[in-house]
Symmetry: C2
Subunit: 362 residues, 2 copies
């Protein structure tokens, strides 16, 4: 595929010019990766209409050459990236007014800008790169699709290995090994394996609790391919489901299906959220669905846009979002079913093809 990074940088430069900025300091690592391909954990990037300069440290001197190529001038700093920044900026005589990313600069570093960087004028900018990242191009969607395939194949390998008596941590171990064996570069977030009453905790991690007969077992996990994330949840029952379990499960399944089929580019995040929320409310479980329907995924596992009651913005074409309704009854358990969906011009396409029918294991 052709290299889209120069096009992204050109789009950003257009934004800078419109905002009357001579340049932008980037500190958000996912934004830096999006623009340059650099995947290290320590970098500053300066973008101006004339220059693209990446500043990193010794640990990445080999990697940065491979990843960035000729796209940016690279400076390896022995002491502090900030010292390197002042030197680089001093060599750009036409640069006087710079933007910085208000969401990715700690107050400590903001103080550096206004003190050690006091010879330049600094203006906060909001989501300049995040907005570009909302609409995925073909190569990005292909990577998320791959990450979705890694995740669903890993789940397929995992389900036959699950037994009553295993701890949640052991289940996580089986699932994560399968993710690695399928080629996941990492874990986009700590795997959630929550069983029995713990399935009612929407942000449980994994514990030493052992699976019991009749438990709900909720698994929320993801894969990473080429830096891009997938994010999937399935909930199964260990043994036979009770009537209550089946009712809650089927309500979530229908809410997931309606939202995944009904979501559209151009719709507000609020209206997308409402598809699932109204269905769950009408079924009488509205109080037990306390989080929002979904979020964008890409280089980060949580990025724009949001599908939530407070999201007024229209969902852009090309966004990839999660659809993850849930019902959580404290002390009893819970169900969440989550898929990744790309918002195409012709409607939604589900990337995480994996059965959603209630599975009773063992």
């Amino acid at each position: 595929m052709s290299d889209l990074r120069p096009i992204r940088i050109a789009a950003l430069v257009d934004g800078l010019t419109a905002a009357h900025l001579d340049g932008l300091l980037l500190t958000g690592l996912s934004n830096i990766r999006y623009l340059t391909g650099f995947s290290g954990s320590s970098a500053l990037l300066v973008v101006t209409p004339r220059d693209v300069v990446l500043i990193t440290d010794f640990r990445y001197q080999t990697q940065v050459v491979t990843e960035v190529g000729n796209l940016a001038r690279v400076s390896i700093e022995g002491a502090s990236l900030w010292t390197g920044l002042w030197q680089q900026l001093a060599a750009m005589p036409t640069v006087k007014v710079l933007g910085f990313e208000t969401a990715h600069v700690q107050h400590r570093d903001f103080q550096r800008l206004v003190e050690a960087g006091g010879r330049w004028q600094w203006r906060p900018t909001v989501d300049l790169v995040e907005t570009l990242r909302e609409r995925k191009d073909g190569s990005e969607i292909a990577r998320i699709q791959e990450a979705a395939g890694v995740a669903t194949r890993a789940l397929e390998r995992t389900l036959p290995q699950l037994r009553v008596g295993m701890t949640e941590l052991a289940v996580a171990g089986v699932l994560e090994k399968a993710l690695r064996d399928e080629g996941s570069e990492g874990f986009p977030f700590p795997s959630i394996v929550a069983s029995g009453p713990r399935a009612a905790l929407p942000h449980a991690r994994s514990s030493t609790r052992a699976l019991e007969q009749g438990d709900f077992l909720l698994m929320d996990f993801g894969a990473e391919v080429g830096g891009y994330c997938s994010d999937v949840t399935r909930t199964v029952v260990m043994g036979k489901a009770s009537g209550d379990q089946r009712e809650v499960y089927e309500t979530v399944r229908s809410a997931n299906e309606r939202a995944a089929q009904g979501v559209r580019a151009g719709m507000t995040g609020r209206d997308a959220d409402a598809i699932a929320r109204h269905y769950i409310e009408r079924a009488g479980f509205g109080d037990l669905f306390g989080h929002s329907l979904g979020h964008g995924i890409g280089l980060e596992v949580h990025e724009a846009p949001r599908l939530a009651r407070t999201a007024d913005g229209a969902l852009p074409e090309g966004a990839v979002v999660t659809i993850e309704p849930g019902i959580y009854r404290p002390g009893w358990g819970g169900v969440r079913i989550e898929d990744d969906v790309v918002l195409g011009a012709d409607g939604p396409h589900i990337l995480t093809e994996f059965p959603r029918e209630l599975m009773e294991l063992g």
Copy 2:
């Protein structure tokens, strides 16, 4: 073990009084966990001489009660944690001047403080809680010791399963499954499995490269127990080591041994770093050891103190630090050997007991 959280909060309140602050807003999640036990991913904490108030969201309403108990008043916010903050502060009439954590407040949120929170005076504070966290108490050391045991037992399970032809990702899968089976709650950082020439990248992650006969195989990974981290590196050879490999390995091994035995509370971080660095320099490899000797570990895998050329501070008694010298020859490979060491009153104690002799596998 007795609950040390009230003592930690009392120590923090002493610091606030000394700094003429009526209270402190905490946004750093590890600091909040240290003070209250809350392990969720979304929280604000206010500490004053009279009140401890924790603000979190719906997702954690069950978990927060279990973890925090009566230590803090808990407020669950439906909309935004910041809205909750203004309401809580408005109910504290004696609180006018508040500190905030300069290292844990994004510029975006700093703007909230001075705008929406404009009726209070805000003062940046530096490392008030981080400084308390440097000296570990007995229960903290016990957890790090457990996390060290999980990591070394996982490595013991992993080594016999390694074969030429496996990918680095598959090795990571075996190692991470063993970490889970031994009880690790999570992965404190992305596992580094780097083989052959990739072992020369001090911050490689894991790739699809397959292990070859004669490769160095470097594994840098950690475990988490009760929220506390361990951080271990071992480097082995796939097959027979060459003379060059043996020379580099033995140099790193001696540097590790000298530093782990020679480091003392009261010494500066620079002097600790110098133990290993001077040894590697005298052996002729000084240019190839580009990072610092080590860092503190605890609730975070990188915390104070630092063992580095630029670290002037004295290492406190009770700190737990990594000792991780390395030699990296670009294009050829590299070796790092890393242990976790507690700086006791009577000298250093190594927590990561695992052989350091060169291992030739298969």
